[in-house]
Amino acid sequence: MSQKGQNPVNQQLPNSFRAGPDEEGRFGLFGGRFVAETLMPLILDLQEHWNAARKDPEFKAELDGLNRHYIGRPSPLYYAERLTEELGGAKIYFKRDELNHTGSHKINNCVGQILLARKMGKTRIIAETGAGQHGVATATVCARFGLPCVVYMGATDVERQAPNVFRMKLLGAEVIPVTAGHGTLKDAMNEALRDWVTNVDSTYYLIGTAAGPHPYPELVREFQSVIGKETREQMMAAEGRLPDMLVAAVGGGSNAIGLFHPFLDDKDVSIVGVEAGGKGLEGEEHCASLTAGAPGVLHGNRTYLLQNSDGQIKEGHSISAGLDYPGIGPEHSWLKDTRRVEYVPIMDQEALAAFQMLTRTEGIIPALEPAHALAEVIKRAPKMDRDQIIVMNLCGRGDKDVHTVAKHLGMEI
C-alpha cells in the first residue's frame, strides 16, 4: 500500500477498533471537549451520570423495555430478494430501522438520552434537527415523559421538511426556525448551543447524532449500537455467519456508527459509509466532509469539516436535509484515517434513482438519507458473488421526502 500523503501517526493501527474514546473523549486526533466554560461543568456532570447509567441494571432494563414496547425493537433484518435478483450479485439485507416508531433510527438515541436527562433532574429538553426526524423523535419522547421541548431547525429545512414540522407541533414541541447562515443543520446546532449556554440549569441538550463534545459521540453510539447488535444476532440466525459488507449513510454518523460499531473488530467484514456528494465534489454543493474536508474544530469536537483555508466553515448542500451537515462524528474521522471504514460520496441524482428503484422493486419508500446508502449498494452488489452478503441500514422511511422527490421529478402533489 502506498504511504504517500499518509500521516505516520495514523499508520499505527490499534489493537481494537472498539476501545475508544479515551478519558478525554478522544478517538486518536479526533473528538475532545471544545466547549465554552459555561457548558463545561454540565458536560462533566453528564459524563458522570452517563458512566453511572451505563453500569446500572435498572437503567438498562428501562431502556430495553422502551426499545421493545415503545419503539418496536428489534427491527427486522429483511432479505431483499427482488432487489438482489435485479442487481444479480451479492445478497442484500436491510436492517429495517425505518419501521421504528416515528420512522427512523433517531428514536433509539432519544429514548436513551431522555432517560439520562431525567436522571440528571433536567426539566426542559432542546434539540437541533435537519430532516426533522430527530426533532420528531425528541418531541415524541418529550410527550411520552411530559417534558417541554424546543427544537431548533434551519429555516430552509423548515420549508423542505414541512410534514415533520407539523408533526413536532402536534407532539407539543416548539419549533424555532433558524435564519442564520443558510438556515440548515449547522446553524440549528449553533442556535441550540446558544440556548443551552443560556439555560444551563434547567435544560438538557438532546443531540441527534454521534457528534458534539464528549461524552455525546460515545453515548449516542451506545444507544444506536442496538442496531448492530441485533444485526449480528439476526444474521447468525438467518445465514449462520457474519455479512461480508455493511453499508450506511453518514450525516453526523449516528445510524452508521450504530450499525458498524459491533462489527469493527471483525476483520472480514468490510464497512462502507456513504456521504452526501450533492451536486458533485468539484463544486461547493456537497456535504462530503470526510472525502473533501479537513480536520478542524466545530461544535465541541475535532473532526473532518468542510471549511476554507482560513478555517471558516462552509455551508453544505444535499438533497437530503439529514445529510446536510458540514461536519461528521469524530469516531468516523478516526475510522477513516485508520482506514477501517471506507467513505464514499453519492450524488443527489444517484440517491433519487435509488429511491425510486427500491420503491418499485421492494415496495419500500426509503428516506433520502438511506437512499444514498442504497445507491452505493446498487453499485457494489453486482460486482460481488452471489454467496456474498451485504447488510444496509435502512434507517428511515421516506414519507417526509415525498414532496422533495416530487419536486425533483417535476410532479405536482
Binding site: 459555561t38 443560556t198 466545530l298 475535532r302 482560513d310
Partner: protein, 276 residues
C-alpha cells in the same frame, strides 16, 4: 518580564479605577474602518482592546457579534488581515494591550505554532479562545504561555469553587468573568450577584478580574466597575457599527464607536475601585 497587560492593570490600580475593556471585531465593517476604529479607541478612553477574530460559527455570541463577524468575513477578513491590523495599530501605540478573542478553528487551521509566533510579532498581548476550556490546555494555552502571550480564561456563573482552581491554573493577564449564563449581548447582569462572584474569584487569585457580557451603558459600567478591576463592553459597540454602516459606514461608524467609548470611559472613571 511584565507584559503590557500586567503593566496596564498595575497603572490603573495606582489610579484607583477599573479598566475599560472594549471589544470590536477585526475587519468590521471593513478592514480600513476597523483599523481606524481600533486606532481611535485608546484616545476615546479604552484601556484594553479586545479584537474579535471573525468566525463563521460563533456559538457563544448573540446576534450583534454574529453579524459583525459575518460583515467582516464578507468584507474579506482573514486571520492574516487580523494580525496585520494589530501590526499597523502597534506602529502608533506601544502600550495599549491588545487581546485577540474568538474561536479555536481559525487558529488551528492557521497552525498553532505559526499563529503564536505571528501574533507575538504583530504585537498581540493575550488570547481569549471561547471553546478552549482548561481540559484542552495542550491545544493552545500552554504553547501560547510558553511563548510569552497571556492566556485569559473565562470564568462563568457555572464555574463553582471546586472547578475554579482548574480554570485559574494556567490563566494569566486577567480573569474574564462572564456575568451571565448566556451569549454575548443578552440580558444585563445583576450587579449584586456579579460583585459576589468577583469577590469569590478574588479569594482564589491575585489576578485582576474583569466583567463582561451584557454591559451596555455608562451607568452599568460604573456600577459593575465598582466591584471589579475592569468592565468589558462589546455588543454595544458592535451594534453601533452596524447601525452606522446602514447610514453610510466609514466615519459614521468611527464616530459612533468613539462617542460610546467616551461615555463608558466616564462611567468607569466614576466607579470606585473596590479595595482588595
Amino acid at each position: 518580564m511584565t507584559t503590557r497587560i500586567e503593566a496596564r492593570f498595575a497603572r490603573l490600580k495606582e489610579e484607583g479605577r477599573p479598566a475599560l475593556v472594549t471589544f470590536v471585531m477585526a475587519g468590521d465593517p471593513d478592514h480600513e474602518t476597523a483599523l481606524k476604529i481600533v486606532e481611535a479607541l485608546p484616545a476615546a478612553g479604552a484601556d484594553v482592546i479586545e479584537l474579535g477574530m471573525p468566525f463563521s460559527d460563533p456559538m457563544a455570541d448573540g446576534p450583534s457579534i454574529q453579524k459583525a463577524g459575518l460583515r467582516a468575513l464578507k468584507a474579506g477578513a482573514s486571520m492574516q488581515r487580523t494580525l496585520s491590523l494589530v501590526k499597523d495599530f502597534r506602529k502608533g501605540d506601544g502600550d495599549t494591550p491588545i487581546i485577540l478573542m474568538g474561536y479555536f478553528n481559525p487558529i488551528y487551521i492557521y497552525g498553532v505554532e505559526a499563529f503564536v509566533k505571528d501574533a507575538l510579532e504583530a504585537g498581540v498581548d493575550g488570547l481569549i479562545v471561547v471553546d478552549l476550556p482548561p481540559e484542552m490546555d495542550d491545544e493552545l494555552c500552554l504553547p501560547a504561555l510558553d511563548a510569552g502571550l497571556n492566556f485569559i480564561r473565562l470564568a462563568t456563573p457555572t464555574t463553582d469553587d471546586k472547578r475554579l482552581p482548574a480554570v485559574l491554573k494556567n490563566t494569566s493577564g486577567f480573569v474574564y468573568y462572564v456575568s451571565i449564563t448566556g451569549i454575548t449581548g443578552s440580558a444585563a447582569p445583576d450587579a449584586g450577584k456579579v460583585a459576589a462572584a468577583v469577590s469569590r474569584i478574588k479569594r482564589h487569585t491575585d489576578l485582576p478580574v474583569c466583567v463582561g457580557f451584557g454591559v451596555r451603558t455608562a451607568e452599568q459600567a460604573a456600577e459593575i466597575g465598582g466591584n471589579a478591576d475592569g468592565v468589558v463592553v462589546g455588543s454595544a459597540l458592535v451594534s453601533a457599527i452596524e447601525a452606522s454602516s446602514e447610514k453610510g459606514g466609514g466615519d459614521a461608524a468611527l464616530k459612533a464607536v468613539t462617542d460610546i467609548v467616551a461615555s463608558l470611559a466616564e462611567g468607569v472613571r466614576s466607579a470606585r475601585l473596590a479595595k482588595p
